[in-house]
Every structure is written in C-alpha cells, then in structure tokens.
C-alpha cells in the first residue's frame, strides 16, 4: 500500500513533514512539562492537605480540572496562531503553492488539508496530556463524559482559532505579516466580545435602573425583583441584548462547559454561564436557554470557522475574478 493513502494529499504531506522536523515532539514535551507541573503541584497540595486534615473535598477536583483546562486553553491561544499563520504563506514563499494549484487539488482541498493537519497536531497535544487530565478522577467528583465534553469544546475553539491563522496565511503574502495579524485577531476575538458583553449589559442595567428609579423613586431598584401588575417583569431595553456578545467569547463557552456539571462557585446557586444572572440583576438565571449556551456557542464557532476557511479558499483561488469579469465583458458587449 502506498504511503500516501490519506485521501487529502496536503494533509498527509503536512503531517509527514512536521513529523520529520521533530517540531511536534518538542512541542509535546514542553506542553506536557507545563501541564504536568501544574497537575502534580495541585495534586500534591490536595494530598498534603488530605494528610493533615484527614479528608479530601470532592469540590477541589473540579477546580483542578478548571485550572488544567484553562491552562491548556491559554497555551493553545499562544501556540495555534504560530502553527497556522505560516501554513499557506510558507507555501507561497517557497513557491510550492502555485505548483499545488495546478494539480487536481482545489483551493478548498488545500485549505481543508492544512486546517486538519493543524487540528490533528493540537489534538495530539491534547491527547498526550490526557494522563494529566485524568488525575482529576483520582478522588472522584468528575465523570468521564464531562471531561470528554470539555475536550470536545476545547477542540472546537481550537478550530475557530486555527481558522483565523489560516485565513491570514491565505490572504497575506508573507509569513511575518500573517503571524502578526493572526495573533492580533486571536487576542482581539478573545477580548472584544467579552468586553462588549460586559459593556452592553452594564449600560443596559444602568439605563433600566435609571428609568425605573425615575419612575418609581426609591422603590425602583427593588422593583427589578418584583413584578408588574400583569405579573411579568418589564424593562424598557431587553436585558438579554448583551448575551450574544458573550456567546462569541470562547472563554465563556469554556467556562460554561467546564462548570455546567461542575462545582458551585461561592454562594452562587448557578452553573455555567447562568452566573450572568448573579452579576446583572435584569438577567434571569435558571431559564431553559442557559442550558443551550454551549451548543449555541459551539454552533456559532463552527459557523465562523467554516466562513473563515471559505474566505481562505477564495483568497487562494487564482481565477476567482474570471467569472465576474466575463460577466461584465458580456454585459458591455451586449450593450
């Protein structure tokens, strides 16, 4: 059987080239050293605490899980743009992209192959860290479905991040520009939606409160928690307007999936992104749609990933303007 048995030739090439470079081995080593250090430090603390107090709280294990998941998430933010920003611009720089474009591979197949080669690499990193993540099972309190869900959402967010790098790599001609733009976009996407969510929700709360105070004087504030004569709380501006911004913030999705089945935080009775109801008095916790936070958010990320990959393929297509120009010339001829 031929070595090139994976259907997407670009995917196979990238995987074999990267394996030859040894870059992936160094990356796995450093990644696991970091994750391992944090995991064993946490576990050591729990164990020592258990020895001295004679008991180990189940509640600590989810915290360990959150720490490890967000550590991996942080490393992924740093590593994925570096892995993706050069995948296509390097092909341009070594002049192999043009040759690839003359083969039967379509721009979409090239982009798809590049995309999955990065996802496979990150998947390998995550898979290699599973023994450390599995330490959370030591004292119970976490089930494997929960862990698998977290990993699945983590991979979706990785795809979203990777698509950003691939998009810039396709649009820009040099790798340096692509790396810079990828990091800017990744950090921007991590902060801007969170900030917009916080900002918009805060402003709405302030406006609504001001209006109610104006209408009802000192009773205004407590009115938030009461009901109108019709039995339904009424707000001038719907308080949920800020929620879509949070939906596009990957940190919120990570938190939702990690905490949804996890441990109670402080005095909050909520799980996952329900905690917005704890912060903003207008937003109600416990509604059915909070349980759809992760599926909706993941759906949005997948949609955005698809869109960015499509943009990448469009950018690579050497004859993309032909259709438009031909149409134009046909129109002008008919005139």
């Amino acid at each position: 059987m031929s070595k090139f048995s994976i259907k997407n030739a670009v995917l196979y090439k990238d995987m074999t080239l990267d394996m030859k470079k040894g870059k992936i081995f160094a990356l796995i080593l450093v990644f696991n050293l970091l994750v391992g250090l944090v995991a064993f430090t946490f576990l050591g603390g729990i164990t020592l605490g258990g020895i001295s107090s004679g008991k180990v709280s189940y509640a600590v294990m989810p915290f360990m899980l959150y720490t490890l998941v967000f550590l991996e998430y942080g490393i992924m933010i740093m590593v994925v743009p570096a892995l993706t920003a050069g995948v296509i611009s390097l092909e341009k720089e070594r002049q192999t992209l043009e040759v690839l474009l003359t083969t039967r591979l379509t721009p979409w197949e090239i982009v798809w192959g590049k995309f999955w080669s990065v996802i496979n690499m990150v998947g390998l990193l995550v898979l290699s860290s599973v023994p450390f993540l599995a330490l959370v099972f030591m004292y119970g309190g976490i089930n494997i479905i929960h862990l698998l869900l977290i990993v699945a959402v983590f991979m979706v967010i990785t795809m979203y991040t990777a698509a950003m790098g691939i998009m810039w790599s396709s649009i820009l001609k040099n790798t340096m520009g692509s790396v810079i733009m990828s990091y800017i976009t990744v950090f921007f996407s991590r902060t801007v939606f969170l900030s917009l969510g916080i900002g918009v929700s805060g402003v709405i709360t302030a406006i609504d409160e001001a209006i109610y105070r104006n209408m009802l004087g000192a009773a205004g504030y407590s009115y938030y928690y009461s009901q109108t004569p019709t039995g339904i709380p009424q707000y001038i501006i719907p308080p949920e307007i800020g929620i879509p911004f949070f939906l596009l913030a990957p940190e919120c999705t990570m938190w939702d999936v990690a905490n949804r089945m996890g441990f109670q935080i402080g005095t909050w009775s909520t799980r996952g992104m329900d905690f917005l109801g704890e912060i903003y008095p207008h937003i109600s916790s416990g509604k059915w749609y909070w349980y759809l936070w992760t599926p909706i958010s993941v759906g949005l990320f997948l949609l955005l990933t698809w869109g960015m990959l499509k943009i990448s393929a469009f950018a690579l297509n050497p004859v993309k303007k032909k259709g438009k120009k031909n149409k134009k010339s046909k129109k002008s001829k008919s005139k």
Partner: protein, 315 residues
C-alpha cells in the same frame, strides 16, 4: 490539440495579451519565443489555470477547459521557472506526493514514479533529500513532477534558465526523448539556438500577439526570406543586372557593393530560381547567387528590431 483564440489579458492599464491566437498540434515540441514582457508566461499561466483571462478561449482537443479546474489539471502539466520543491522530501516521496494530488496511489504509482525518475536520470537519487540536489537535478525532478499524471500537454516556462551547459544539454535530451514518445510539449525559452535545434515548431510572440508561427522548416524559410539574396556578377554587367532585377515585383530593394548586389526579395524559392534563370537568359554572368544563412535567433531579432524601428519612426 491546443488552440488559443482571441485571448486578452490586462494588468491594470498594461495590456499583456491582445487578441492572441495560437495553435499547437498533438505531439509537437513547440518553442514559445518572445522577449521579456512579451506575454509568454502570462499565456502559459492562463493555459494551466493560474491566471484568469479577460477574454478569449483556450481549447484542448476541442473542449473549452478553463472553467473546469479538475479537467484542466489532468490535461496539462506545468513546470514553472522556479523549482517549488519540498526540501524535506526525498525525490521519490516528492513524486509520490504530487501523484497523490491527482488521486494516484498504490503500487502502480510507485512504479510509475520510479520510471519517471529513470526518465529524468535521477533514479540513483531516489532516496536523496530534494535539498541535496543540484540546480539541474531539481529542474529535472520538477520536470518529472509535471509528468506525474501523464498530461496531454506539458508547459515548461524557461526550464533552462540558470542551468549550466551540461544540465541544459541533459534537459534538452530528455525533452527530445519525451517528444519522441508523442508528448505535446510547449517550452518557452530565451536560449533560441537550443529551441532551434530541438523544436518541431515555433511561435514568436511580441507585445502580446503571436506574430509568427509555424513548423521549424517554415520558420527557417521565413527567416531566410528576411535575408537578402547576394548576387555576384561580372564587373561590367552590374547595370544589366540592375535592369533585369527591376522587372521583378518581388524585388523590393537592390544595393551594390562592388560587384555584389544585395537584393531584398520577397518571393518564394521557386520565384528565386526564376530570378536566377532570368539573369542568365539576359546574358548576365552570375558568379555567385545565395541567401545569407539565417536562424530563429536572427528572425526573432529582425521581428523585434523591426518593431523597434517602427517605434523610432513614430517617435
């Protein structure tokens, strides 16, 4: 086989191709000649799907293929004027990879890749990293890559540029060999004497238009027509010779240097013999009658310098 009709391409205000027409028959080793910026690479890039045209069409075996990427890719092979190699691959892996981009895999493909390496005389470098190859070897490997899917037409853009004489000779031999198998090859080059030796037909492109195209014999004839006929006559018969030559409409210009007359003659070979017979029948003692040797290079220079002269006149 390949027919290009009314092809247009503009880059901003610069018109790279204007109403370009060209035809290449099956099995030809076609030399594509033109100065820098004449439109050779643009034509090739449009033909292999790397550039969109602004008008016109390209047909292969009567089928318009520019809008069907997969079909076009399987019909043409392209070796650009750069290498485009993955340095971490061995020669064999490199060919296997490109075969896989055409959906070719398995034992037969491996055997075919080995045969291609043999064809380009790199079978002994099968397991060598591409990085370790010389420039000439890399060019030959790229040639093998262009052939990996057995295309109907192989486009080579300046394949000999930057190669040493030995590598150029080896490349030329391989191309001749390929041509003998019936492969249609279109090659652009600046090294005209080499094209002159190996091509079966040639197209000369100037300012985005093919100004002359034909088989090598036709081109040589055309080149010969560009050269004046040199007629040496007896010293006392120069005026008689002038009188005879003036009778021919195909004689454009006659100049004399001593007893050698330089005649710009636009007639055919047959008309040339009629001219000689006429001189002899008028009792002009013709001591020598021949055309200066001409080549593809001289014809090309005549076309380009003619264009330059026209420009100078306009200025």
């Amino acid at each position: 086989m390949l027919e290009i009709s009314h092809l247009y391409k503009k880059f901003g205000k610069f018109v790279a191709l204007r109403d370009m027409n060209m035809k290449v028959d099956e099995g030809e080793l076609f030399g594509f000649v033109g100065s820098n910026g004449a439109g050779k690479t643009t034509t090739m890039r449009i033909c292999v799907g790397l550039l969109a045209s602004d008008g016109g069409k390209v047909t292969i075996n009567g089928e318009e293929v520019l809008n069907d990427h997969k079909k076009l890719a399987s019909l043409v092979g392209y070796v650009p004027d750069f290498f485009g190699v993955y340095s971490n691959f061995t020669c064999m892996e490199y060919l296997q990879f490109f075969a896989s981009t055409y959906g070719l895999r398995g034992y037969d493909t491996d055997v075919m890749c080995q045969d291609l390496l043999k064809l380009v005389k790199l079978d002994h470098k099968k397991d060598t990293n591409v990085n370790g190859l010389s420039r000439g070897m890399k060019q030959r490997l790229c040639l093998a890559r262009g052939l990996v899917h057995d295309p109907k037409i192989l486009f080579l853009d300046e394949p000999a540029s930057g190669l040493d004489p030995q590598s150029r000779f080896e490349l030329k031999e391989i191309l001749k060999n390929l041509s003998s198998y019936g492969k249609t090859i279109i090659i652009s080059s600046h090294i005209l004497p080499e094209l002159d030796q190996m091509c079966s037909s040639v197209g000369i492109i100037n300012k985005g238009q093919v100004v002359l195209q034909g088989t090598m014999d036709e081109i040589h004839r055309a080149a010969a027509m560009q050269s004046p006929i040199l007629i040496t006559v007896a010293n006392d018969q120069i005026d008689d010779a002038f009188a005879v030559l003036k009778e021919f409409a195909t004689v454009q210009k006659v100049t004399a240097r001593g007893n050698i007359l330089s005649v710009v003659f636009t007639g055919t070979k047959e008309e040339e013999s009629v001219l000689l017979t006429s001189l002899v029948s008028h009792n002009v003692a013709v001591l020598n009658f021949y055309r200066e040797d001409s080549s593809l290079e001289s014809l090309f220079m005549d076309i380009v310098s003619g264009e330059m002269a026209r420009k100078a006149k306009e200025a």
